[in-house]
């Protein structure tokens, strides 16, 4: 590791680690990131840029990294687009570079650079339009193959993800000096505090100045002691490797935590009463020609590599800056054994820091700039020049300095993304050249502290942290502890910044947006083309639209636009900040909602019987319902045929437990039913059942079911399985809000009762073996209910029929459901009792013309459209939906009617949803006359049947229409009655 320093850093030299990059093995140490380990091994070239495929190296040391995206080949699955600067080194780590072929050094798409003239920003708005048809065949496939940076993983992700909900008084984001101070102040006051830090250790940028004294001891000691105290406080929770990525309504903060253990990653959903954002600041690059070459790095990052990882990524160090902060890097590099030169754009460099630099033997060129960078796959030299007074032009070109590490600093930007997501506002601070937090909303109460708040020197950072925390504690009605401000000193090194947003250029590209390959030239182009809104320029130049979301690009871009438009920076404004602050994994966002637990699964009390049989299950909403009950390897068609014939000819049984059931009690129960159904309920006697249609206020059918009178003030309502929740909400709404004067209570009992549908001409005989209820036709007629024992279990038996055969719906408490089902089955074996599933049930009811709400209706269908005028009371002055019948569109408009459809060839079964036209041959697009809603082959009738909605259908009986197939052919159908079997209904009433 030729760039590794023999001493210093926070790495553990006793723990060497082996890792692999692009197939070659290297060595690093515990405490390295992949980036620091690569730099230690002098690996400069780590990536190819997005559009031009330019060689790129590591630019930063943190989550703002725009270039060093790698694919991490973890054991649990491939992770593309991971930042080498964030990936902690472990033994055996494997990673590959991205966006190159056949390899990094000899990437074939580097040829794009040659065509750079033709592919500036926005080029795709002006190209790829002709010849017509080439888009699908040529352009799109080629672009798709070339686009993106990382490759989607193909291996299954075996990581485990979870979530945690947490609540606290104060959430502190960031554990730099201000974050630690804030957490300590809040923690000591007794508030419930959470502190989250994205990195694997606490301290933030203070770790780059380990010797700086706080309270007389080195900063590293202060960090250690503070962290220790925080960990001992019961009311404080500290978490590292936890990145706060989203600030949502009413102070919900989302954070993503990486863990080593059973769980790989965790989503934290933190509801904090107050939030302290101590998120620090991110350094800006300078925008000059070829500033993207491997070896050109952010100055602060170089200091990080020296101080934390004991890596000096170059020997001939040039520091290029417009402010004093980079002088710390120059001193650190010199101290680590580098030859250092400072190129300062300012006329004067006269601070204490610059004096220190000169004393250390560092040459300083003022009023100077780097006007050219030599070297492609690594920096080899830089050319220095002087700038004109207004810094817009190069006054003179000077010497070429040998250079293998160019550390640049264009200033620092407070990390305000979370503040802005939290409805915060920004104000431009001209002295420091920063956008800093100003107002905070009342809906997302928070404060910013430290450099995130514009406090860039150590003492004011500490003070600001305490002040902001006291403000927050006051809002909570808590007393701030009497915290003494730690002793610290140091100048605000940013105070003397003189911004140079674009360094004048001789030739070459000046990058401001590294990840998307966007340049200062592109920004000028956008303005020249007439785009003046920052939102438009952003999108035209894709500034800030890559995975790094412009962390190092946005302010430079904004300032350059301002220059182009000749406007002040605050006038130009910023674009909208949206979560996530940093890329997060889908796995973490989904956490436990995956695989087996993706969605709730509802099973009936009889479910295990169906499973044992081997019945395929159909998902109906959240429920699993048996679809068909195959015997001896039958396919669906054979099974359904057999089931239907058994019901019509003998006896069958179906599990109807999923139907919604609502207990309705109260003196006004019948009145309530009168209002929500279309028909009359006041005269329904106890023990009697009635079918009801429920409409919304537009007069359209939205549910149906049979409701039974148990006593004068007690009813049992059933709904469709899928509509149960919706109907319950609808009814409760009316009962609680509009009609709160009615004495009526609604209680769901869907899950209290298991329901078995015993159906067929033999049903009575089978049931008689198990019950003392008088099943005689006169004693127990159709549409009545009897209570009694079935197989010894207290039951309610309803004579209602969905199949059109003699049927009994047996309701028993769920815990006896399976038992009673098995008893009935045993009792019916002599009659070859046949279990039938959802599919057979659908066929049987269709043979009788019974509708299924949501299949034959679509929310725009009235009872009259369905031919169900008989169920609409002519006497009731009002019910929900009634008034809408008189709307012109319904009363006078053209309506579709529910009709039966028979294919000319009885063996042909129409496809679901097929459209019907009067003409046989049609040219698309064409307005159709209707469509098919239910279609099956009827085993008992031996021919196909179908129902559909057709314009004026009832007035067109006998007419032939054509079902238009997708392949252009058509099937002739005849309009007829929708009841196909037992038209008089005698079998049901038997």
């Amino acid at each position: 590791m030729i760039n590794r320093l023999s001493q210093g850093g926070r790495i553990d030299r006793s723990k060497p680690l082996a890792f692999e990059f692009d197939g070659k093995t290297y060595q690093g140490f515990q405490g390295d990131t992949l980036a620091s380990a690569l730099l230690a091994n002098d690996i400069r070239l780590v990536a190819r840029s997005f559009k031009y495929h330019r060689p790129r190296g590591i630019m930063s040391a943190g989550l703002e990294e725009p270039n060093a995206l790698v694919c991490h080949l973890a054991t649990s699955g491939d992770e593309p687009n991971r930042l080498a600067t964030e990936l902690m080194l472990y033994d055996g780590l494997k990673a590959t570079s991205q966006n190159n072929w056949p390899n990094l050094k000899n990437d074939i798409n580097a040829v794009n650079s040659l065509f750079a003239r033709f592919i500036p920003a926005g080029f795709y708005y002006k190209t790829f339009m002709k010849p017509h048809g080439w888009w699908h065949k040529v352009y799109e496939p080629v672009i798709r193959a070339a686009s993106g940076i990382g490759k989607s993983p193909e291996r299954d992700d075996t990581s485990r993800y979870e979530a945690r909900n947490a609540f606290c008084d104060v959430l502190v984001v960031g554990s730099g000096v201000s974050g630690l101070m804030a957490a300590l102040t809040a923690g000591r006051s007794g508030a419930k505090v959470m502190l989250v830090e994205a990195a694997h250790e606490f301290g933030g940028h203070l770790l780059d100045h380990p010797g700086t004294p706080i309270d007389g001891a080195p900063a590293s000691t202060w960090i250690e002691n503070t962290a220790k105290e925080l960990k001992t406080l019961d009311n404080v929770t500290v978490m590292d490797r936890t990145l706060a990525f989203g600030y949502y309504d009413h102070n919900l903060i989302a954070a993503s935590q990486r863990i080593d253990g059973n769980v790989t990653e965790r989503l934290w959903r933190i509801r904090a009463k107050q939030v302290i954002l101590a998120t620090g600041a991110i350094e800006r690059p300078l925008v000059f020609a070829d500033n993207d070459r491997p070896g050109v790095m952010l100055a602060g990052a170089v200091a990080t590599y020296i101080n934390r990882h004991a890596v000096l990524p170059g020997k001939q160090v040039v520091v290029f800056t417009n402010n004093d902060t980079a002088y710390h890097t120059a001193l650190a590099a010199k101290g680590a054994g580098g030859d250092v030169t400072i190129i300062d754009t300012r006329k004067v460099s006269g601070s204490a820091l610059s004096t220190k630099a000169r004393e250390a033997g560092i040459a300083i060129h003022t009023n100077a700039a780097v006007v050219a960078v030599k070297g492609k796959q690594r920096v080899t030299a830089v050319q220095v020049g002087t700038l004109s007074d207004n810094k817009q032009a190069i006054a003179s070109v000077g010497e070429v300095l040998p250079c293998d590490l160019l550390a640049m600093s264009g200033g620092w930007s407070p990390t305000v993304q979370l503040h802005m997501q939290g409805r915060g506002k920004l104000v431009w601070n001209d002295e420091l050249a920063i956008m800093q937090p100003s107002e905070v909303s009342i809906t997302e109460p928070h404060v910013c502290a430290g450099s995130a708040n514009g406090a860039f020197d150590l003492a004011s950072g500490l003070q600001d942290a305490i002040q902001q925390t006291e403000k927050v504690l006051q809002r909570l009605g808590m007393d701030a502890s009497a915290t003494v401000v730690p002793e610290a000193s140091g100048a605000n090194d940013l105070a003397t910044i003189e911004p140079v947003w674009r360094v004048p250029v001789l030739k070459g590209k000046r990058f401001h947006e590294f990840q998307n390959d966007s340049t200062a030239e592109d920004l000028s182009l956008a303005v020249r083309e007439g785009l003046i809104s920052v939102e438009h320029v952003k999108r035209y130049t894709t500034t800030g639209m890559a995975t790094d979301q412009g962390k190092t690009a946005n302010l430079n871009g904004l300032a350059i636009i301002a220059e182009e438009l000749d406007r002040a920076i605050p006038e130009v404004g910023t674009t909208t900040f949206r979560p996530p602050f940093h890329p997060v994994t889908f796995g973490m966002l989904a956490n436990t909602r995956q695989r087996d637990f993706f969605a709730p699964i509802r099973k009936t009390p009889i479910h295990e019987w169906h499973e044992k049989w081997g019945a395929p299950m159909e998902p109906v909403g959240d429920w699993l319902r048996p679809w068909w009950f195959p015997k001896d390897g039958e396919d669906m068609h054979a099974s359904v045929t057999r089931e239907c014939l058994a019901v019509r000819g003998g006896v069958g049984m179906a599990d109807a437990s999923t139907l919604g059931k609502i207990d309705i009690q109260g003196k006004d129960a019948a009145e309530f039913l009168n209002r929500v159904y279309t028909n009359a309920w006041s005269k329904l006697k106890p023990g009697h059942c009635r079918y009801g249609l429920m409409l919304n206020e537009q007069g359209f059918v939205f549910d149906d079911g049979v409701t039974t009178c148990l006593s004068d003030d007690h009813f049992h309502m059933t709904t469709t399985s899928g509509g149960a929740a919706r109907v319950m909400t609808w009814l409760e709404d009316w009962a609680q809000t509009e009609w709160s004067d009615l004495d009526v209570s609604l209680t769901s009992v869907t899950e209290q009762w298991a329901v078995m549908q015993l159906s067929g001409p033999r049903a009575r005989d089978v049931l008689a073996r198990l019950t003392d209820i008088d099943l005689d036709k006169e004693a127990f007629p159709f549409m009545t209910m009897r209570e009694g024992k079935i197989a010894g279990v207290d039951a309610r038996v309803f004579r209602i029929s969905f199949t059109g055969e003699l049927s009994y719906e047996i309701n028993v408490p769920s815990r006896f459901g399976l038992y009673v089902w098995e008893q009935i089955f045993a009792a019916g074996e002599a009659d070859n009792i046949t279990p039938y599933g959802n599919e057979a049930m659908h066929v049987l009811r269709a043979e009788k013309g019974f509708i299924i709400v949501g299949q034959d209706t679509d929310g725009t269908v009235t009872p009259m459209d369905l031919g169900m005028d008989w169920i609409v009371s002519k006497v009731k002055p009002d019910f929900l939906g009634k008034r809408s019948f008189d709307r012109p569109a319904i009363k006078d408009g053209k309506r579709k009617h529910l009709v039966g459809l028979m294919t000319e060839d009885p063996k042909v079964v129409l496809p679901d949803g097929v459209h019907l036209t009067e003409q046989k041959d049609v040219k698309i697009p064409v307005t159709t006359d209707g469509y098919v809603t239910s279609t099956y082959f009827s085993p008992v009738l031996g021919h196909s049947i179908a129902m559909g909605m057709v314009d004026d259908g009832r007035d067109r009986m006998g007419q032939t229409l054509f079902a238009q197939m997708l392949d252009g052919s058509s099937i002739p159908v005849k309009i007829g009655q929708s009841v196909f079997y037992d038209k008089e209904g005698e079998r049901t009433r038997g």
Binding site: H250, T729, D733, R883
Partner: protein, 99 residues
């Protein structure tokens, strides 16, 4: 993710609730006497303000009660919750100016 204050259960995550649209729209006592346009107004038209909105929510995964609250449709500031039948302080014209 809003934090809503159910008058019976206290503050809960928005996901426990379902939304019921604009509040204080009384059903006409005698719909048959309403003109088509008045009936249409009741069935279809809603205020949709950019500002404070009185609206209905139901605590679907909790006590299953309907209640009202006043929410600013841009900032999601919630002025308060109140039960059906209760009144809630009126908003001054100044407060309800468009942003």
């Amino acid at each position: 993710m809003l934090l809503l204050d159910c008058p019976w259960c206290g503050k809960r995550d928005q996901t426990e609730f379902s939304y019921g649209g604009e509040a204080h729209i009384d059903r006409p006592i005698k719909p048959v006497e309403k003109s088509d346009s008045d009936w249409g107004q009741y069935v279809f038209f809603r205020a949709n303000p950019k500002g404070y909105h009185r609206e209905r929510w139901m605590h679907a995964q909790g006590c299953r009660r309907w209640f009202n609250l006043m929410r600013h449709t841009v900032t999601n500031e919630i002025k308060g919750s109140y039960k059906p039948g209760e009144t809630f302080p009126p908003v001054s014209p100044k407060e309800n100016q468009n942003d």
